[in-house]
Symmetry: C2
Subunit: 96 residues, 2 copies
């Protein structure tokens, strides 16, 4: 049986490849694919930001090797940072 943690890890891999396989390098997210992933998977997060440049800024922050694409490792850094932020919010709300 697959554990909850294995399930979560598998989910991250599946989400990435669902979007990365759409065009160009099948194993990397182009800017259009990243935008589509953020809108499809984190729509509430995106719409909470009033900044029209938010996708460009995320792309620029994530694309450490400056090849104009986001690979899986760069994607996991984003997810890790977002999850740590969500956890802090959750812990604070539990403490209050």
């Amino acid at each position: 049986m697959v554990s909850k943690l294995e399930n979560a890890m598998e989910g991250l891999i599946e989400v990435f490849h669902t979007y990365s396989s759409k065009e160009g390098d099948k194993y990397k997210l182009s800017k259009a694919e990243l935008k589509s992933l953020l809108q499809g998977e984190l729509g509430d997060f995106l719409s909470a930001s009033k900044d029209p440049m938010v996708v460009e800024k995320i792309m620029s922050d994530l694309d450490e090797n400056r090849d104009g694409e986001v690979d899986f490792q760069e994607f996991v850094v984003l997810v890790a940072a977002l999850t740590v932020a969500c956890n802090e919010f959750f812990v604070e709300s539990m403490k209050n």
Copy 2:
């Protein structure tokens, strides 16, 4: 509706707190809690390693601030590294 990515992020937070709340600091994993998490959630991974010190080594690697406990941010670093390794395995098997 919760997206697959949000679901995975929520899963990571839930797994951590399921184990971290068992004893001592409710928001950190003690060594016993980490061992219990690794055995309960990544049993196949642990049993694949023949090293009886594997839990001690993981604890020592993760516990960046040397307080003998693993906080959520330290835990996410482990999950991110494992997920990147799983993804590389998956991508290689897709290419072959």
